[in-house]
């Protein structure tokens, strides 16, 4: 299924509550300058239909559904703010809240699936902030990275643990109970743009980098990566472990492709390659509710939702 957005897509996320509901964060002019728009789409028999759309004064780089309330959605905004939207509320009530603490662009946002009032924001001001949706200010700031932080992701098994990926080429593992990061991995030789936890093994992370590779790490033996997945021809923008299978990883890249990998077969890891985007593919998500359903968004102003066994263009 295809949906055309007026701006360039940056992120796409499936709702954890409602099947087929999708949030899409977009930015005008490729996010360099201009406005942003947060779309909420619903899959139906006639394709993707827009349920709601919210405009912002700066580009949106990421979005994330609340795990607590099916109507709440947060967006990471280019002006350093985090916008909270209520899909059901009338337009004048939105944004519900705007958290303005970051000094620079907020680039990633991630909701805690266990402690469902908490979420993280990663920003280009080198810091990660911990937020409670009900608190007026951030609860904590994690500032150890020496360059932009491009991703921060909660461990699905430990509500206190998260991993962050930064442009200083490192990946850090943090524990809310400790003052400083508990692990720092010099993961790549170039900027690390994305990371994700394996959903079935609480010690495994995947990282994607500007060096075009995806690496799989075991945080208990961080000196060496477990596997390296090569194949992308430009920087890897997003990497995700499947919520349904332990060894399945999806990635999207500035080479405009979306790829599906099987980490357990390192010599023949590439399972699928989709080249339906005609510009940078930067948004990607697995549906947790429907196995095999994928969504991607790109700078070609399209959002695709498809089953991994079909062609996105045909669906």
């Amino acid at each position: 299924m295809l949906f055309r957005t007026p701006f360039n897509g940056y992120a796409v996320k499936f709702s954890p509550f409602e099947e087929g509901r999708i949030a899409v964060a977009t930015s005008q002019n490729f996010g360099i300058i201009g406005n942003g728009r947060q779309h909420v789409l619903q899959m139906g028999p006639q394709g993707l239909v827009e349920v709601a759309a919210f405009d912002t004064k700066d580009g949106l780089y990421d979005c994330c559904w609340s795990e607590e309330n099916e109507n709440i959605l947060v967006s990471a905004c280019g002006d350093g703010s985090i916008k909270v939207w209520d899909v059901q509320a009338p337009a004048q009530a939105n944004p519900l809240r705007s958290f303005q603490e970051h000094q620079r662009e907020v680039y990633a946002i991630n909701w805690n699936v266990t402690r469902r009032n908490l979420f993280l924001s990663a920003s280009w001001d080198d810091s990660i902030k911990l937020w409670d949706i009900n608190a007026p200010q951030s609860l904590a700031t994690f500032k150890e990275h020496t360059y932009c932080v491009y991703a921060a992701v909660w461990n699905p098994a430990h509500a206190d643990v998260f991993v962050s990926a930064s442009g200083d080429c490192s990946v850090k593992v943090w524990d809310l109970r400790q003052q400083r990061s508990t692990l720092s991995i010099a993961a790549h030789n170039y900027e690390v743009l994305c990371t994700d936890w394996c959903k079935y093994n609480d010690c495994v992370i995947a990282t994607g980098s500007v060096d075009k590779s995806i690496k799989i790490w075991d945080v208990r033996s961080p000196t060496r990566e477990v596997t390296t997945l090569l194949g992308h021809t430009y920087a890897v923008r997003r990497v995700l472990f499947s919520p349904h299978a332990e060894s399945i990883v999806a990635s999207c890249s500035y080479d405009m492709t979306v790829r599906l990998w099987d980490v357990a077969a390192p010599e023949d890891a590439l399972l699928r390659l989709w080249d339906h985007h005609t510009e940078f593919a930067v948004g990607l998500d697995f549906s947790t509710l429907t196995e095999g359903l994928l969504a991607s968004a790109g700078w070609d102003e399209t959002v695709h939702v498809w089953n991994q066994n079909t062609d996105p263009r045909a669906a």
Partner: protein, 331 residues
């Protein structure tokens, strides 16, 4: 904010992640049994290798001149004062801190040329790392650089790499304002700075930290703008040619007309012909006059002032030209 509980995640349904002691991902067995980072005692920060001792890359908005908008707003002085020897009155920029809104700009400058109050604002318009665009160069600071040359738009210091859309060159030209720069800062380096400004090439001011370095290649933005400029130039040429051709046609036609219209009667004849074609029959005056003359000479009626009017009555002499004039009617 309350709602129904989220459906359990697939890995929760299957009792996934919680207690993994094995590493099912193929070759990684190295970590088995090792403590997980979050299980280690506090303070024991594990770090692999020395990778973090590496110098972090400079941010695009720092690379592009380092000048505008640091979050703190006062962080400039360090980077520039370090070079003060080389750059003359480096206090010139940076000393006092630009973006700090209204702070005076440097000790060397004398009275309150508070400039560039616009710098720190709106961080979002300055480039973003993902593209390496290098920033739009900053918009602020058009009020008075001391002498009040108010050419504002930006990045004058511009981006040493010319990365700024405005700051860099092609548009305002290195030479163009290069001359002005020196005086403007009132720095001791004024004269040489301005002098160098001339041949500075297409990439804007040189790197203030390394004046001898070659100019950096144009950024993607500049390349694109230059491409567009080429296209616009081409069409400009095209329309110039069209215009020029129109002029030529005009001159040629008017010359032709003048040639054909030596007697000045061309238009009159033409108009008569056209009117004739349209069916309007003007009284043929001169024919009448001719025939009147003819009548005079033949019938010797003496000067007849009404001759011209009575001429058509002389049917014995039908003047040939009349036939010609009545040609469209036949015969």
């Amino acid at each position: 904010m309350s709602g129904r509980a989220a459906p359990p995640k697939p890995w929760e349904r299957r009792g996934g992640a919680t207690g993994s002691t094995t590493t099912p991902l193929g070759p990684s067995t190295a970590g088995d049994g090792a403590p997980k980072p979050w299980e280690q005692p506090q303070g024991a920060v594990a770090s692999t290798s020395g990778a973090l001792s590496r110098d972090p890359p400079s941010r695009p908005w720092e690379r592009a001149g380092t000048t505008y908008s640091s979050p703190a707003g006062t962080a400039y002085s360090n980077s520039y004062s370090a070079n003060s020897g080389q750059y003359g009155g480096a206090g010139s920029y940076g000393g006092g801190g630009y973006g700090t809104g209204g702070s005076m700009y440097g000790s060397g400058y004398g009275a309150g040329s508070a400039y560039g109050s616009g710098y720190g604002a709106g961080s979002s318009i300055y480039g973003r790392p993902a593209y390496g665009v290098g920033g739009l160069g900053g918009v602020g600071g058009y009020n008075s650089y001391g002498a009040g040359a108010s050419y504002g738009a930006g990045g004058m210091y511009g981006s040493r790499c010319g990365g700024g859309l405005y700051g860099g060159s092609g548009m305002y030209g290195g030479g163009g304002y290069g001359g002005g720069l020196g005086g403007m800062y009132g720095s001791p380096m004024g004269a040489p700075y301005g002098a160098i400004g001339g041949p500075m090439g297409p990439n804007g001011p040189f790197d203030p930290n390394d004046p001898n370095a070659p100019p950096q290649p144009p950024s993607a933005w500049q390349a694109m703008l230059r491409g567009i400029s080429g296209i616009v130039h081409f069409f400009g040429r095209l329309s110039f040619l069209v215009d020029e051709n129109a002029h030529a046609v005009h001159f040629f036609i008017s010359a032709l007309l003048q040639l054909l219209d030596r007697a000045g009667s061309l238009y009159g004849e033409l108009a008569r012909f056209v009117l004739r074609m349209l069916g309007y029959k003007p009284k043929p005056k001169e024919m009448a006059a001719q025939s009147a003359k003819a009548a005079d000479s033949t019938s010797a009626q003496g000067p007849d002032f009404l001759g011209s009017f009575s001429a058509p009555l002389h049917e014995h002499r039908q003047p040939a030209p009349l036939q010609l004039v009545s040609w469209p009617a036949g015969q």
